[in-house]
C-alpha cells in the first residue's frame, strides 16, 4: 500500500470517500465521489430540530455517499459500531496496526483542532485516521487543509458523542480494491437518481417543492429575533464549512464537467455552467439574508421568500433539463 496522501475537500463525506478510493488505487476526485453517489439534494425538515431550528439539507443524509459508492464500486467496506468507547479504541488501534486506512464518524464539538467558533454539536462529521504515534492519532480531516493530530481521549469523546445522529463509535474500512466502473452507466444512473429526488419525490418537503415550502415559512416570519435566527440557520446550512459554497451546487457542477470529459457526453458541459449560475443565486440569497441579520437592511421575510421562489424556478428548470439530457444519453 503506498503512503497515504491527504487532500483538502469541501465536504467531509465526499472528501473521505474520494481519499479512500484513491488510496486503494482508483483515481477519484471529490466532485466525482459526490456526484456518482448522487449526493445533491434539497430538503426542508421542520420535524428535525437542532437547537430549536429546523434542519435544511442541501445533500443526502449522512453515510449515504459512503454506502452508495461502496455498493457501486464494490470495495467491500466494513462498518463497525461499538457499545463501549474502550472497545472502539481497541479496534481502531488494531486496524491501524494492520496498516488499514480507517474512516470515522465523529462529533465536531469534541475535536480540538476545529476552530472554536465552528465547534457545534454536529455528530455526522467524517474523517480518516492513517496512523498513530503514542497516544496521538494521525488524522486526515478532509475539510482541514493539512493533516492534524488528535489525542486519544479527545477522539474517543468525539466518536462516542450522544444526541441526534450519534456515531456510536462508527468506523469503516475497505477490504478490497475498487474496480474501475463503467463511468457512463454509473453516471447516467446517478443523474437519474438526483433528478428523480429533486423533481418527483412525493413529499412536500423534498426537492423543488421543499424550496417552495421553505419560501412559505420564511414569508410568514415577523421581524423579530427568532426570524433572524431562522434565516441565519438556513444560510449556515448552505454556506458553512462542508458545502463548497452555495449548498453543494458548485461541487455538483464540477462533477458534471468531469463526467462530460470522462464519457465524452457533451450536453453536461452546458448544464454545469447553468448550475454554477444557480449556485450564484443561492449565494445572493445568503447575502441578502446576512444583511438583514446584521441589520444593514430591514428584515423582510417577503424578500427572502422571493429569492427562494426564484431559486425553486431555477432549480426546476435546471433539473428538468438535466433529466432530459440523462434520458437522451445513449448508454
Amino acid at each position: 500500500m503506498p503512503p497515504f496522501v491527504h487532500a483538502h475537500a469541501s465536504h467531509c463525506e465526499s472528501g473521505v470517500m474520494s481519499s479512500l478510493v484513491r488510496h486503494h488505487g482508483l483515481p477519484m476526485s471529490e466532485a466525482m465521489a459526490f456526484g456518482l453517489a448522487a449526493g445533491l439534494l434539497f430538503a426542508y425538515l421542520p420535524f428535525m430540530r437542532i437547537n430549536g431550528l429546523p434542519l435544511v439539507a442541501y445533500r443526502i443524509p449522512p453515510r449515504g455517499i459512503i454506502k452508495r459508492l461502496n455498493k457501486d464500486l464494490g470495495f467491500g467496506m466494513r462498518f463497525e459500531t461499538f457499545r463501549e468507547p474502550a472497545e472502539g479504541t481497541r479496534r481502531l488501534n488494531q486496524l491501524l496496526d494492520d496498516g488499514k486506512l480507517v474512516g470515522l464518524q465523529s462529533s465536531v464539538f469534541w475535536l480540538p483542532y476545529f476552530p472554536p467558533d465552528l465547534r457545534f454539536h454536529f455528530n455526522a462529521h467524517n474523517l480518516l485516521v492513517y496512523g498513530r504515534e503514542g497516544d496521538e492519532y494521525l488524522i486526515s480531516d478532509p475539510v482541514v487543509e493539512t493533516v492534524v493530530r488528535c489525542a486519544r481521549a479527545d477522539l474517543e469523546k468525539a466518536r462516542f458523542a450522544k444526541g441526534l445522529l450519534a456515531p456510536r463509535g462508527l468506523l469503516y474500512y475497505a477490504t478490497a480494491r475498487p474496480a474501475a466502473p463503467d463511468w457512463a452507466k454509473l453516471g447516467k444512473r446517478a443523474l437519474k437518481r438526483v433528478t428523480n429526488t429533486m423533481l418527483r419525490t412525493p413529499l412536500p418537503f423534498v426537492g423543488v417543492r421543499g424550496i417552495r415550502l421553505l419560501a412559505r415559512q420564511v414569508e410568514r416570519l415577523a421581524d423579530d429575533a427568532h426570524a433572524r435566527m431562522y434565516a441565519g440557520n438556513i444560510v449556515r446550512m448552505q454556506e458553512e464549512i462542508g458545502t463548497g459554497g452555495a449548498g453543494f451546487r458548485f461541487l455538483y457542477a464540477s462533477f458534471l464537467q468531469e463526467l462530460a470529459e470522462r464519457t465524452g457526453y457533451r450536453p453536461l458541459e452546458g448544464l454545469a455552467t447553468q448550475l454554477v449560475e444557480v449556485g450564484d443565486r443561492w449565494r445572493e440569497f445568503a447575502l441578502a439574508a446576512a444583511r438583514m441579520i446584521r441589520g444593514r437592511d430591514r428584515f423582510d421575510g417577503g424578500i427572502l421568500a422571493g429569492h427562494l421562489r426564484a431559486l425553486a424556478e431555477d432549480e426546476k428548470k435546471f433539473f428538468s433539463e438535466l433529466d432530459a439530457a440523462q434520458r437522451a444519453w445513449p448508454c
Binding site: D117, M229, G232, E240, F250, Q257, G279
Partner: protein
C-alpha cells in the same frame, strides 16, 4: 462564482483556517480553491455562537443571584440545550431541570456529578464552579 471572486475576507470564525470551495477558473473549469472566508458566513456563524453565549451569560447571572445552579451555566457553555444534555447523560429532562435548583444541585451524589461532568467535558470539581 469565478475563481477571482472567491472571498478571501479573513473570516474570524475560521481562526486562520482555509476552507475548500469550488469556483470557475479562467479556463471555464470548476475547481477547488482555498478560501479565507466570506463575511456572510462570519455573520451567520457569529450569530449562532453569540446566541449560545447570551444563554450562558443569562444563566450565569441567575446562578450568581442564586436562582439556578452552575449546571445550567455549564450546559450552555458546552453549547448544549436541555434536550441534548438529556440525551448525553441519559437522564430525564425533568430530573435535569430539578438539578437546576441550587439547593438540589448542592446535594447531588458524586455519581451524578461525575455523569454531568463527563457529558460536559469537565472535572466534577469544575462543575460546581462558575468563573
Amino acid at each position: 462564482m469565478r475563481e477571482r471572486d472567491v472571498p478571501q475576507e479573513g473570516n474570524a470564525t475560521l481562526a486562520g483556517h482555509r476552507k475548500a470551495v469550488y469556483a470557475v477558473a479562467d479556463d471555464g473549469r470548476v475547481r477547488l480553491v482555498a478560501s479565507r472566508g466570506w463575511e456572510v458566513e462570519e455573520i451567520v456563524t457569529r450569530q449562532a455562537v453569540q446566541d449560545l453565549e447570551r444563554l450562558a451569560r443569562d444563566a450565569s447571572a441567575r446562578a450568581l443571584a442564586g436562582l439556578t445552579s452552575p449546571l445550567e451555566v455549564h450546559m450552555y457553555r458546552a453549547r448544549m440545550d436541555l434536550a441534548l444534555l438529556s440525551q448525553t447523560t441519559g437522564l430525564w429532562r425533568w430530573r435535569i431541570r430539578r438539578h437546576f435548583q441550587p439547593q438540589v444541585f448542592a446535594r447531588l451524589s458524586p455519581a451524578l456529578r461525575r455523569r454531568y461532568a463527563d457529558a460536559l467535558g469537565l472535572t466534577p470539581e469544575a462543575l460546581g464552579r462558575i468563573d
